[in-house]
């Protein structure tokens, strides 16, 4: 039953993506530009991978030749010597300038630049715009998706929590599906890596981060064109929290191990030449661990989306009875794998975070052994 549902979802997903792709194709030809289909698909994929200032579900070209976007405009919040708030509908998807507080703003490749009244954007030789970029605190598509995910999680898990009280400690409904996952995170991730005594204080973070990443990964597979966990700012934020929690809950042993990895096993003159290399490595490891976390999640989700969309794009490039179905089935297979990856990446992020917490909160017993050794 579940697999049937997945197939349906995937099918609809593919149709939607295909539909929006063909719509873009029409638009470009009607405008008479010389871009061929391949560059167009590449741009479309790039566009999809980026965050967006409006929540567009799909777009098409009307009979009149006008390009119609179906979706919601989102609020744009800029910090440009004071807060500027206006609706993203002012940009008309990058076609017009937005005016707020006497300033003009233009949208170029998903980024907002401050311009003059004509909307001139100057580029350097590498193709980057040189205009001033105000700090962008807009409620973008990704922020909306995070809010939706957050509300969904709040609703799901608070109802699970309430179902315990109502039903004598036995979950009901969707809780029956989620409770084993919560228990899995507790029993197979937190307990073995952090330890029976200290795992509890890390549980809320581990649970939140697992479901947050998993749900956002799954949303990324819907045809809404969402790519939250494949965004570097998001994964950076998540990894930063792991980094902060690791180091703020780090015990004395953890810090001691960091600057004095060999401990009393060696006299100081023996340790000195080793520590010249070892201590910088240990300190670098502090940063590298969460950095690996952020890159891993970002790259996996980004790559999954690129591969999937490229395969869907291939359908329109082949335009043959053999090539297009073939790439359709390839895309279908990749989607199945992506569903697994969505769960796997959430698991890996949680598992590794938990492992780092375990290292940081570990307390060795050697303090108690020292007096005994003195007797010997």
């Amino acid at each position: 039953m579940r697999s049937l549902l997945t197939v349906k979802v995937l099918f609809i997903c593919s149709i939607f993506l295909g539909f929006s792709l063909s719509a873009t194709a029409k638009e470009e030809t009607s405008e008479g530009t010389k871009k061929d289909l391949k560059t167009e698909i590449k741009e479309y994929i790039d566009h999809h991978l980026q965050d967006s200032h409006d929540f567009s579900i799909f777009s098409y070209t009307a009979d009149s030749g006008e390009h119609v976007y179906v979706g919601l405009p989102l609020p744009v919040i800029l910090w440009d010597n004071g807060i500027q708030i206006f609706s993203s509908s002012q940009f008309h998807h990058g076609e017009t300038l937005a005016q707020a507080g006497g300033n003009y703003y233009a949208l170029d490749h998903g980024k907002i630049y401050k311009t003059d009244a004509e909307g001139t954007i100057t580029y350097d030789e590498e193709g980057h715009a040189t205009n001033v970029r105000p700090i962008d605190f807009s409620i973008t598509k990704n922020v909306v998706m995070m809010i939706i995910t957050g509300l969904l999680m709040l609703w799901l898990f608070s109802s699970l929590a309430r179902s315990y009280a109502k039903n004598n400690g036995v979950p009901t409904g969707a809780g029956r599906f989620f409770e084993p996952i919560v228990l899995y995170i507790r029993d197979d991730i937190a307990k073995p890596t952090i330890g029976e005594k200290r795992y509890r204080k890390y549980m809320p973070f581990l649970l939140t981060i697992f479901f947050f990443i998993w749900f956002l990964n799954m949303f990324g597979l819907t045809p809404l064109g969402i790519n939250v966990t494949g965004n570097i700012a998001i994964t950076f934020g998540l990894a930063l929290l792991t980094f902060l929690i690791t180091n703020f809950t780090g015990t004395k042993d953890y810090w001691k191990h960091l600057v004095d990895p060999l401990g009393d096993a060696m006299p100081w003159y023996g340790k000195l030449p080793i520590y010249v290399i070892l201590v910088p490595i240990e300190l670098l490891g502090l940063i590298i661990k969460p950095f690996a976390l952020l890159i891993r999640l970002y790259a996996n989700m980004q790559a999954g989306h690129i591969v999937l969309m490229s395969l869907i794009g291939l359908m329109f490039i082949f335009k043959s009875w053999i090539g297009s179905p073939l790439s359709f089935f390839l895309a279908f297979a990749i989607t199945l794998i992506e569903i697994l990856v969505a769960l796997l990446q959430a698991y890996i992020f949680t598992m590794l975070s938990s492992l780092y917490f375990g290292f940081a909160s570990e307390e060795h017993d050697h303090h108690e052994e020292e007096p005994e050794l003195a007797h010997l």
Binding site: Q50, D51, I77, H128, I135, D136, F137, S138, I139, T140, N142, V143, M146, I147, G150, M153, L154, F157, S158, L160, A161, R162, Y164, A165, G169, V170, E179, V182, L183, R186, R200, M203, P204, F205, L207, T208, F212, N231, I232, A233, I234, F236, G237, L238, L240, L241
Partner: protein, 166 residues
């Protein structure tokens, strides 16, 4: 790296961190804490129930052993009681027999004594009657014999003859 930095949106990062921390706090209060507590309580309950079941089992075994012991005791007691009763009965029977025998002997000896005395009385009676009859017969015979003179004489002769002999 350049692309990564270019893609990095500070605003999104700020929103993400804010939203995530807010979500974490809300979920902690309304979901994770009650869920984990409920699960712990349930596990504790299961553990306690299992321990209680184990205890009950042990108790049950104890009770079974006790009742077995009681049964054994009761059986032994019954056995003893039966034995005692049997012995008592036998003793009573023996006593009764003894008593009956004594009584019977006594009665028999009494009867014998009575019979003896009766017999003696009867014999005495018979003797008397025989004596009477003998006297009467002798009277009659004498009368008969003394009716004529010859005979009286003869008798006197006989008697005298006897006396002579003496």
């Amino acid at each position: 790296m350049d692309k990564l930095l270019n893609d990095f949106s500070f605003g999104l990062f700020v929103w993400q961190t804010l939203l995530f921390v807010l979500l974490l706090l809300l979920l902690y209060k309304y979901a994770w804490k009650p869920i984990l507590n409920a699960v712990d309580d349930r596990e504790e309950g299961i553990k306690n129930a299992l321990a209680a079941a184990e205890d009950a089992k042990k108790e049950m075994q104890n009770v079974t052993a006790d009742s077995e012991k009681l049964l054994q005791e009761a059986r032994g007691e019954r056995e003893a009681m039966l034995k005692e009763a049997r012995e008592l009965r036998e003793k009573m029977m023996a006593d009764a027999k003894e008593k009956a025998k004594v009584e019977g002997d006594k009665m028999i000896s009494q009867a014998k004594a009575t019979i003896d005395s009766e017999k003696k009385a009867a014999v005495a009676e018979i003797k008397n009657q025989v004596a009477d009859l003998s006297v009467q017969i002798a009277e009659k015979v004498l009368k008969e014999q003394l009716t004529n003179k010859d005979k009286q004489l003869k008798l006197v002769d006989d008697m005298l003859g006897d006396l002579k002999l003496n």
